[in-house]
């Protein structure tokens, strides 16, 4: 989707106005949703997924997945392409039938109910707006189907339209809207239903960076204000980290880790998680036994810590590594990428690649010799065979006996 250069400021402006309105109207009220009448009535709307599987022939798109989205929470399903995010979402929506397992919404078993009876709304990745209907008719479609009286329809449309800044666009057709505006219509269609549960499938994937950031904040704000239980699918980790209360990282139909964003970043449970979260992601360096302790494989020291190193992977985030003159682990620069606020240097220690992220501009030529330092707390350890994080006790012992320490 592209925006003409002159069209874009218009959108940004509408957005800003709306922010202003919202802030003004919220006044001092702290109660989420209390002022706008779009609250979901405090209904309990916890989503429980119990060992749900979905088979397409022999492929397991979703494989015995269990999780809970607490009422009023924003849960993100994160994972690489084809890992089963959309399928999981469609199973919750009832657009696909589960091969096994149960799904409960608000304490009610909905596994065998048709989509309409599950009390949820959904924003499709491609918006799924009806191209021949105006914005107003698109938003009102569901209310008309459910025969909501005309006066109430008009009132609800008015509220939703002003909430989303669509007041002036109500008569347009979807094809006459920008991508961001279409997305807001899709959002409007979902929230006017006033369902306690809302599902979103990569709703921002078609937007440019600026608009995406705005919409991210907007959706999160709306979700919190209305107390909606939201399941949000994305493959963009930034989106997941910035919006979620809880993140479920999927991999080939299985849950890799189910944790809060901070936890996912601070304590990745597997090497997969470690490689998925962070830009650039966590370095995973193979270790070996050395004379004085564990050394980076293919190098002759110095030892990182006083213990065995064989069969272990050391995990260190690029942003936790410092480049020093001496004292640290000797490394060699391969390339330096300047990103504006910071630089990412690709280095090697022995035969292991390692990325280093440092603030500002780094003036080092390829093949330059450097020394790398990090604090013991930045060190994570994984079992190379299973890919699992080593247990906390062992990690604590290792961190206590670390040699490389940043001053």
């Amino acid at each position: 989707m592209d925006f003409d250069s002159w069209a874009f400021p218009g959108i940004a402006c509408a957005y800003n106005n709306r922010r202003g309105n919202l802030a003004a109207r919220s006044g001092g009220s702290r109660t989420p949703g209390a002022h706008c009448g779009l609250a979901t009535g405090g209904r309990v709307s916890e989503i429980v997924v119990e060992s749900v599987s979905k088979l397409w022939g022999a492929t397991k798109a979703v494989d015995a997945v269990s999780f809970t989205a607490a009422a009023g929470q924003l849960l993100v399903l994160l994972g690489p392409s084809g890992c089963g995010k959309s399928t999981t979402l469609r199973l919750i929506a009832g657009l696909e039938a589960a091969s096994a397992g149960r799904i409960r919404i608000g304490g009610r078993d909905v596994t065998d109910l048709p989509p309409a009876q599950r009390g949820l709304s959904m924003v499709f990745q491609s918006y799924a707006l009806f191209p021949h209907l105006s914005v107003a008719e698109n938003i009102l479609f569901g209310l008309k189907v459910r025969k909501v009286p005309a006066t109430e329809r008009a009132a609800r449309l008015q509220r939703v339209a002003s909430l989303l800044g669509l007041d002036t666009l109500l008569e347009r057709r979807p094809s006459q809207l920008s991508g961001g505006q279409q997305q807001r219509v899709a959002l409007g269609r979902a929230i006017i239903a006033e369902t306690p549960v809302c599902l979103m499938d990569e709703p921002l994937s078609n937007l440019d960076a600026q608009l995406r950031q705005d919409m991210r904040r907007e959706i999160r704000g709306l979700q919190q204000k209305l107390g909606i239980t939201m399941v949000y699918v994305t493959h963009d980790q930034t989106e997941a980290m910035s919006m979620a209360d809880q993140v479920i990282l999927l991999r080939q139909g299985r849950i890799e880790q189910d944790a809060a964003p901070a936890e996912l970043y601070a304590r990745p449970a597997t090497t997969f998680t470690a490689r998925f979260i962070g830009t650039p992601p966590m370095n995973l360096i193979a270790l070996a036994d050395g004379a004085a302790g564990a050394v980076v494989r293919g190098s002759d020291g110095p030892a990182l810590f006083d213990d065995k190193g064989d069969g272990l992977l050391a995990g260190i985030r690029p942003e936790d590594i410092r480049i020093a003159e001496r004292q640290g682990v000797p490394a060699r620069i391969v390339t330096v990428e300047y990103l504006g606020a910071d630089s990412v240097a690709a280095c090697t220690i022995g035969d292991q690649p390692i990325a280093v992220r440092t603030p500002g501009r780094l003036n080092l030529k390829p093949a330059a010799a450097v020394s790398l330092l990090w604090s013991p707390a930045a060190l994570h350890l994984f079992d190379a065979a299973t890919g699992r994080r080593v247990d906390d006790d062992r990690l604590r012992r290792v961190r206590d006996r670390a040699f490389v320490a940043s001053a």
Binding site: A93, L95, P114, P115, A116, Q117, L120, S121, M122, F124, S126, A128, F130, P131, H132, L133, F141, G142, V145, R146, R173, S175, R189, A193
Partner: protein, 291 residues
């Protein structure tokens, strides 16, 4: 290449197609109009200019009135029914159901068959006593009936046959249109609790409107263009009860060799079709395109 040169090139490239079109479409149409203003040449009387005399004859020609009336009934009987049936079948075979490939083929088969073959099949259906229709009617205690031999039923028989043949053809266009529709529209509607009928009425039908216009124009043209089944089955009989305008033109032109009158009838047919097509475009085009 400069601008003028480009235009020359463009015209040169268009020339072969334009020449063929002019030679075989535009010239004959104009020649027909001219021809209709002259009397038919007879061995003892050469052709001469008679102005609109042929058209005056037409106004008093009871057979012409009859075939025009027949054609109106035929059009009204075949067009809405075949379009509705086509849409119904398309929606049906567009669904995810077991054996839909087979079903699509089955619905499309009548279209592949030549009209003469179709006529043969239906001749058997309509045969008195032994025919399928009479046999089934017999099971319910109805008396035998000469379906094609009776003034009251012959046109109806041709209408049924034509619907059967046309619906499959139109279904293909609707099927193509339905496949263009993103499947998540149906899913979005299902989430809102829309019934199948509501979804059809509010979404599917409006979205296939452009196809409906296209199909409608084709159906109108076909209702004036089909003669094969009349030639094969009834020869316009009994007593012109199943004769349509084009078949009458054929009879006048190539049985009675009154080519001047046939030319005049052809002009009327052309004018009728052009008028109908224009009216459809002007009236429907506005409400068809939603973009």
């Amino acid at each position: 290449m400069n601008r003028a040169n480009m235009h020359v090139w463009g015209w040169l490239l268009l020339l072969p197609a334009a020449a063929l079109l002019a030679l075989f479409t535009h010239y004959p149409a104009l020649a027909t109009i001219l021809h209709s203003l002259y009397s038919t040449a007879r061995p003892n009387r050469p052709s001469r200019f008679i102005g609109l005399d042929q058209y005056a004859t037409m106004l008093d020609d009871p057979v012409f009135h009859q075939v025009l009336w027949n054609n109106t009934i035929f059009a009204l009987g075949t067009i809405p029914a075949s379009i509705a049936l086509a849409l119904l079948m398309a929606v049906w075979v567009n669904d995810r159901l077991a054996g839909r490939g087979f079903l699509r083929l089955a619905y499309f088969t009548p279209t592949i068959l030549p009209m003469i073959a179709v006529a043969n099949i239906w001749m058997f259906f309509y045969t008195p006593d032994y025919g399928l229709v009479d046999q089934i009617a017999g099971l319910f205690g109805f008396a035998r009936h000469n379906w094609l031999g009776s003034r009251d039923t012959v046109l109806g028989c041709l209408i049924v046959l034509t619907i059967w043949k046309e619906a499959g053809f139109f279904m293909i266009f609707y099927l193509a249109a339905l496949q263009q529709m993103p499947p998540n529209l149906a899913e979005a509607a299902a989430l809102e609790g829309a019934s199948r009928w509501t979804f059809f009425r509010r979404v599917t039908f409006p979205l296939v409107m452009p196809t409906t216009l296209f199909v409608l124009i084709n159906a109108v043209i076909n209702s004036f263009r089909l003669v094969d089944h009349i030639v094969a089955m009834t020869k316009g009989g009994p007593d012109n009860a199943s004769s349509l305008l084009l078949y009458y033109i054929f009879e006048v032109g190539f049985k009675y060799w009154d080519t001047g009158y046939a030319a005049a009838l052809t002009v009327v047919l052309l004018a009728l079709l052009a008028g109908l097509a224009t009216a459809q475009f002007l009236y429907l085009d506005k409400r068809v395109h939603y973009r």
